[in-house]
């Protein structure tokens, strides 16, 4: 049970500013995911919370106490590492017992906690094995078990699923979610996988180049990205972008490019009006594009040349050329299309995004 607060947190390595002014309030029992590409500072931030990296500037609080100078062992946190970091010379049980032994727990209490954690994770039969005798998924469970037995204030996860194969990763993701619901311990989870971030996080923190881009619930990030980076990072396949110019004619705002003219819906138009005549970036997600029908207003339709057809069974991903831009569209799997076909596509205007061409911030 704990809150974690980051205030103007900075980390500088020799001449490299890895984490810049990160502010974050993690609530009690909340599951917060830090997500971003490699080198965005997410792992460094996590390691500072753990106490494995010194804070260059700023403040970390766990509940009401500043822990900047508190060594890892006194922070009452548990961490699950990317490579599991199980002690190779100890049995599974000894691995799980180690943290309790160091904290001078009674033998009976240790046994009881190990049995309970092993029960939750389904690893009772592995307790006498050595880590090298376990599969990747089993090692992952043991690493989780080692964290659970401690019953810490905060769980920290450093890309815990990235060493598992795709199928196991999905399975462990579900188990992690269940585990969090059951234990309800404040958790900070680092990943570069936006699907993990979206599915696991109560809130998601998107980072890039050491700077927090946006903090919000998964759907907020998906529906209202704060800038072009978040828009492109969250969601799969990624959002389509086109360089456009904002113009007004007959009192209506439209985004225009060669061979593309999309009229903006009223709410977006109102915000875009201040940028009339300026360059902007138009964004639309593949799932918000469909094959045009008679019901679609012509000002939201456009012509597309199909370049690649990716049949996924549940949907078709069309890589299309629209004016100067490349758009991916997710369409009905039953549609019969071939490369080089021309197709009339339509988009859902209320799902359009606009970003300033210079600042890349949402308009």
């Amino acid at each position: 049970m704990a809150e974690v607060t980051l205030r103007k947190l900075n980390k500088r390595f020799d001449g490299f500013h890895a984490v810049k002014d990160v502010d974050l309030d993690i609530r009690d029992r909340e599951f917060v995911v830090l997500v971003g590409p490699s080198g965005c500072g997410k792992t460094t931030t996590l390691r500072m919370i753990a106490g494995l990296e010194a804070v260059s500037d700023g403040e970390i609080r766990i509940d009401d106490s500043v822990v900047n100078e508190v060594p890892p062992m006194d922070r009452d946190i548990a961490m699950v590492f990317q490579n599991y970091a199980l002690y190779p010379h100890m049995s599974v049980a000894a691995n799980m017992a180690f943290g309790l032994k160091m904290r001078k727990f009674e033998r009976s209490e240790i046994d009881q906690r190990i049995r309970r954690a092993a029960g939750i994770l389904g690893i009772e039969s592995l307790l006498d094995r050595k880590p090298r005798q376990l599969s990747g998924g089993q090692r992952q469970r043991v690493a989780l078990g080692r964290a659970i037995v401690r019953d810490p204030k905060v769980f920290l996860f450093d890309e815990p699923l990235s060493n598992l194969d795709a199928k196991l990763r999905v399975q462990m993701r579900v188990e992690l979610k269940k585990l969090h619901e059951r234990l309800a311990v404040t958790s900070v989870y680092v990943t570069h996988d936006q699907v993990e971030a979206m599915t696991l996080g109560d809130r998601v923190v998107v980072m890039k180049d050491g700077v927090v881009q946006q903090v919000g619930e998964p759907l907020t990030l998906y529906n209202n990205p704060a800038n072009r980076f978040v828009a492109g990072f969250i969601g799969s396949p990624a959002m389509n972008f086109a360089d456009v110019t904002l113009r007004e004619s007959n009192g209506r705002m439209a985004a225009e490019a060669d061979g593309l003219r999309i009229e903006l819906p009223p709410e977006l138009a109102a915000r875009a009006r201040a940028h009339t005549g300026a360059k902007a970036i138009l964004g639309i997600r593949p799932e918000n594009i469909h094959v045009a029908t008679a019901g679609d207003a012509p000002e939201h339709c456009f012509d597309a040349g199909i370049e690649v057809v990716e049949q996924l069974g549940s949907e078709i991903l069309l890589d299309t050329r629209v004016g100067p831009a490349l758009f991916v569209a997710s369409i009905e799997p039953t549609l019969q299309v071939r490369p080089h076909d021309k197709l009339r596509l339509a988009l859902r205007p209320e799902r359009l995004h606009l970003f300033d061409a210079q600042s890349e911030q949402a308009i």
Binding site: M73, I77, A78, M79, F81, N83, A85, Y87
Partner: protein
């Protein structure tokens, strides 16, 4: 045309001699024989000759006759021999403990990140690289009763009133030799243990820190057990080398004062070569064998246990 030529080349049968190598038994024999010949010629044969020599009464200029275990019986009553035996064990035991302790400490320091790490690592190896005889001569000067820089420093710092006769006193002479051996041996321990330390993932130490282990506990429960297999191998090498050490004692004291610092090797040399009693010298050398054999077997068994754990 080309095709035909290639075809012919492919079907040509290898010669009879080469075809014989397709039989695994012949191949094994061919591959093993060079090693077997070398081992036989340079290890087994001299060893057997040494055994025969120790059972004879050979001297310089006298091939001697077979005398059975007479030489060994004589050694059993030889006080200097027993001093050498004791010295060898003491010398090996004390220096190994210090070399391990200091080497481990240095290795842990070198395993940290600091500026100029590569340079320091290279410098650490110097005592190991310099030919032992040369560095030992330098040490001999440092311990010289008259010219000793150690005495000079201690005197001028006010620690001592009179000169210390480092190599003239039996206990001090042995201590001096041990210091040089430790100085020479620490780099080997440091670099080998450093290599061992680098195979241990830093994440394990971090995990232990988060698990609540203080630095000493992290060393004792995580680093040390994982380093143990490397440590045992390094110790094995070092013990064998130290047990059979010759150059250091030979240069520093020649076994003196009054035969107080003899080891197996220097005493064997003293009797066999200096005194010309070849057979008795061989007996001293050979007496080292059972002791060393037991030490090595015990260590090897231990290494196997550690590694299969």
């Amino acid at each position: 045309m080309t095709v035909t030529a290639l075809g012919t080349a492919r079907v040509r049968r290898p010669s009879v001699r080469l075809r014989r190598l397709e039989d695994e038994r012949w191949l094994a024999l061919a591959l093993l024989s060079p090693t077997a010949v070398l081992l036989g010629l340079f290890i087994a044969y001299p060893f057997a000759e040494g055994v025969l020599l120790s059972l004879s009464s050979a001297k310089v200029g006298d091939p001697g006759v077979f005398v059975g275990l007479k030489n060994f019986a004589k050694l059993a009553d030889d006080n200097i021999f027993w001093t050498a035996v004791w010295n060898t064990f003491w010398y090996t035991g004390v220096t190994t403990v210090f070399k391990l302790g200091l080497g481990l400490w240095l290795a842990m320091l070198l395993n940290r990140h600091f500026r100029g790490k590569a340079l320091v690592r290279a410098f650490i190896l110097l005592p190991f690289i310099i030919p032992t005889v040369l560095s030992t001569f330098a040490w001999k000067w440092m311990f010289d009763p008259t010219f000793s820089v150690i005495n000079w420093s201690l005197f001028h710092l006010g620690f001592i009133k009179a000169r210390i006769n480092w190599l003239g006193d039996p206990t001090l002479a042995m201590t001096s030799i041990m210091i040089v051996n430790i100085w020479r041996g620490v780099p080997f321990f440091a670099i080998s243990l450093l290599a061992g330390l680098q195979t241990i993932s830093p994440e394990l130490n971090e995990a232990a820190a988060i698990d609540g282990a203080r630095p000493w506990a992290r060393f004792w429960y995580v680093t040390w057990p994982l380093l143990l297999p490397v440590t045992m191998v390094v110790m094995l090498f070092s013990v064998i080398q130290t047990f059979a050490d010759f150059q250091l004692v030979y240069v520093m004291t020649g076994g003196g004062p009054a035969n107080a610092t003899h080891l197996f090797a220097t005493y064997a040399y003293q009797i066999g070569i200096v005194s010309g009693l070849l057979s008795e010298g061989a007996a001293v050398s050979l007496a080292m064998f059972p002791f060393l054999f037991i030490i090595v077997v015990v260590q090897l068994l231990y290494i196997r246990r550690v590694e299969t754990r």
